[in-house]
């Protein structure tokens, strides 16, 4: 496709992240960009007050953040966006995500994994860019494409792989599967199969954080929630309902749209009256940001600000990340409808290759060190697969467990026993 933003058959209007109406006066920037700013699109320039825009509240601040980064580069001595440690952490996390998903594909075709498996190849920059900035107590809610979100949040690869194999050592003891990853230790609260389903749940998690701070007076509770979902979800009613409530109640949440342009075989442009999702944020009174989701550093810059905003109590942000999935919707999807040119365009913008290039060119790391990380991840995954293979299947007794937290009703008392077994329980008006 000729246009830089290669969406096939989108001839009607050029896709600009900045709509002409919201653009401030153009600035003359030197066009020499760092080679890592991988977008081939010529971005419109923002005014120098663009950095302030990030902090400006609610009123329709809509912009492409890559320009913030560009501006940082040209107004000061070239300062790097990350330190070496951070760079290596990001690299390792993205490589783990990629290698894990590739291993999943292998295992699926060998019959070790079954059911629906949705892989995240190509979108790693978003998971790494956002989740690596979180604390353990911050929550992440995802969709069925959740393996890499789980890994980035800290769920061990062994636990995720065992879960996918349906073994009792999995993070949900084999009861959830690929689409339902939960970990209360790492505050990963799903893993939902229905799109849009995770958004109200995430909004609720954010609500609980605010509630604990204000009603239960836990002053240090500033936990933030991230909700990850795709472009198809942005046409679903639950999305809009939650944008409204999150903004209304100023909840500490970031809505992260992983816009990979396709919902199974339905192109985003065929399904959406206004495809620019980030514009829907200001309609509800929160900032809407568009960012190049194939560039982990840009994503990280935006994520830093959005998460900081939420932590400060300023409310939600809607972040639209333009990204692409290199594989089909799931391992059973023949993926016939996507244009090969489009796929090639995005394959050239592979976030891992881009980060690698950045690290090397800015002397933050060398080939050898990065290769060592690659090798380490390969070994980690082989260990995970071996572990999952050798783990036992769930025992029959596990079948009927966990239907209720307390099957006898009335709940569990502070001493850990069923309330109905406590003789004092019936001293009030309750009857067992």
């Amino acid at each position: 496709m000729a246009t830089a933003f290669s969406v096939p058959k989108f001839a009607a209007q050029p896709f600009n992240p900045i709509s002409p109406t919201s653009q401030q006066k153009p600035l003359i920037f030197p066009t020499a960009a760092s080679p890592f700013l991988g977008s081939t699109r010529k971005l419109l320039h923002l005014s120098s007050s663009s950095q302030l825009n990030l902090r400006r509240r609610s009123s329709g601040s809509v912009f492409a953040v890559s320009d913030i980064v560009k501006e940082k580069k040209s107004t000061s001595i070239p300062s790097l966006l990350i330190t070496k440690e951070e760079g290596l952490e990001l690299y390792e996390d993205m490589v783990l995500g990629r290698a894990f998903e590739d291993m999943c594909a292998q295992m699926y075709y060998r019959g070790k994994m079954f059911g629906f498996v949705h892989l995240y190849n190509g979108q790693e920059a978003i998971s790494t860019g956002f989740i690596k900035l979180l604390k353990q107590q911050d929550s992440v809610v995802s969709t069925y494409r959740d393996h890499v979100h789980a890994l980035s949040k800290g769920v061990p690869a062994r636990a995720v792989m065992s879960e996918l194999f349906g073994k009792t050592t999995g993070c949900c003891r084999g009861q959830g599967g690929s689409m339902h990853m939960f970990s209360s230790e790492h505050n990963l609260i799903g893993g939902f199969a229905f799109i849009g389903e995770g958004i109200p749940v995430a909004t609720g998690a954010a609500f609980s954080s605010k509630y604990r701070r204000e009603v239960l007076k836990e002053a240090d509770c500033d936990h933030v929630t991230l909700a990850f979902f795709g472009d198809g979800t942005c046409n679903n009613g639950q999305f809009f309902e939650c944008l409204n409530m999150a903004a209304l109640w100023k909840l500490p949440i970031v809505f992260v749209v992983e816009n990979n342009l396709w919902a199974i075989g339905m192109s985003h442009l065929r399904a959406t009256s206004d495809p620019q999702i980030y514009k829907k944020g200001p309609a509800f009174g929160m900032p809407g940001v568009h960012v190049d989701g194939m560039d982990v550093l840009k994503v990280r810059e935006v994520a830093k600000e959005a998460i900081a905003r939420a932590r400060r109590g300023e409310g939600p942000t809607l972040v639209e990340c333009e990204t692409y999935r290199f594989r089909g919707h799931s391992l059973a999807d023949p993926d016939e409808l996507r244009d090969p040119t489009e796929k090639a365009h995005y394959a050239a913008r592979d976030p891992i290759t881009a980060l690698k290039k950045y690290l090397i060119e800015n002397n933050l790391s060398g080939e050898a060190e990065l290769k060592a990380i690659d090798k380490k991840i390969d070994e980690l995954l082989e260990d995970a697969v071996e572990f999952a293979d050798e783990s036992p299947l769930p025992p029959r007794s596990q079948l009927l467990e966990n239907v209720f937290a307390d099957p006898k009703g009335f709940g569990i008392g502070p001493d850990g026993r069923y309330r109905c077994e406590d003789p004092k329980f019936t001293e009030g008006t309750a009857h067992v």
Binding site: G115, G174, H180, A271, A332, P395, L400
Partner: protein, 367 residues
């Protein structure tokens, strides 16, 4: 939202149901084989060509040729106005379908699986099912909601629920559950022609299965009556009722039981609402024993309704307590061995039938 399971993988793993018929097939020229998928596709095709008011709406029904390829070729034939790809908005497009039906169009709304119909259930029940009553007959809603229902293979708790019992408890709705290709063709055509809202529950694992179809079934005016069950196998000793995929299991169980001297009568319910109580009761009055089989949750399930109906109408004829086989009372687990334990298997039906015939067998399967 939902991945497409390779139907070839599953189709090959499911054995053919009637070996006797397939032997005959090689000598007779009449019985053709047709997969359920082709049956549904041909039914949709014929109804859409017969009546321009019929249109298909749903996720991936057009360019993707259907998430399970049921609507393959229809976009090419009828164009995007009549085969509409929708955004992922079940509540929205189900409601749009109902509104269109109020004004005489005949929408066929596809849910990628019936689990997603929960996002639209308000429209199915409140705007479709209840409208004819609330408007005292002014609004008729000739809509069909169709899609795969029930458990597939390894798809987890949120993709495996059976909705037959929920929808069948609602007055104003008709609920159909085809099993074979003949059922699929006949019942879908009947559903599309019906002036009332119909919930058409297919089964993903049946799509790839082939069944013999006679020339009568292939005729474009072929239609099956709604509310009539089919006796798939005549017997004398015990009545086994089933619907959808469980009919196949019941037939296999009947073959096993035959070797043990128990002659089972297998009823393919076809229609859950209205339930063919007269056929079931007539059968129980003949055999005096009943085993109901379903895939869904046990409490308030289809089997419970059948038990109640038989106890109310044919209590004196029962020689044994009614045996009810259903899915386990849990959300569907993902692990393969747990999933097998959570869905009725052929052995469960055999054991229950033997218990109903007072042959001593242990109550539960060994691990």
């Amino acid at each position: 939202m939902l991945g497409v399971v390779r139907q070839k993988m599953l189709g090959q793993s499911l054995p053919k149901i009637r070996p006797a018929v397939s032997v005959l097939r090689s000598y007779s020229s009449a019985a053709k084989q047709m997969t359920v998928r082709d049956a549904l596709n041909s039914a949709l095709d014929e109804e859409m060509s017969a009546d321009p008011k019929v249109f298909l709406m749903g996720e991936e029904v057009g360019e993707y040729q259907g998430a399970y390829k049921i609507s393959k070729g229809l976009l090419e034939k009828y164009g995007p106005e009549r085969v509409r790809d929708t955004p992922i908005t079940e509540a929205g497009f189900a409601g749009i379908g109902v509104g269109a039906a109020y004004y005489g169009l005949k929408p066929v709304v596809e849910f990628m699986t019936f689990n997603f119909s929960m996002q639209a259930i308000d429209h199915i029940i409140n705007s479709a099912a209840k409208s004819n009553y609330m408007s005292a007959g002014q609004m008729s809603v000739p809509i069909v909601f169709r899609g795969p229902n029930g458990a597939a293979a390894g798809v987890g708790a949120q993709h495996s629920q059976c909705y037959a019992a929920w929808y069948a408890s609602c007055p104003g709705l008709k609920v159909l559950t085809p099993y074979s290709s003949e059922d699929a063709r006949g019942l879908l055509k009947a559903a599309i022609r019906d002036p009332d809202p119909v919930v058409f529950l297919e089964n993903e694992l049946l799509y790839g299965e082939s069944f013999p179809v006679s020339d009568e079934v292939l005729d474009s005016s072929f239609c099956l009556p709604i509310g009539k069950a089919k006796i798939e196998r005549v017997g004398r000793d015990v009545t086994i009722t089933a619907f959808s995929r469980m009919v196949g299991h019941a037939l296999k169980a009947a073959e096993i039981l035959e070797k043990d001297g128990i002659d089972a009568e297998v009823i393919n319910l076809r229609s859950i609402r209205p339930l063919d109580r007269s056929t079931i009761n007539a059968s129980v009055r003949k055999t005096n024993r009943l085993v109901t089989v379903e895939e869904g949750f046990p409490q308030h399930g289809v089997g419970a309704e059948i038990c109640a109906s038989v106890v109310e109408e044919s209590f004196a004829y029962l020689d044994a307590p009614v045996e009810r086989i259903a899915g386990a009372d849990i959300p569907m687990p993902y692990a393969a061995n747990l999933e097998r334990l959570a869905v009725p298997q052929v052995e469960d039906i055999v054991r229950a039938a033997k218990r109903a015939c007072y042959r001593s067998v242990p109550l539960a399967a060994a691990a």
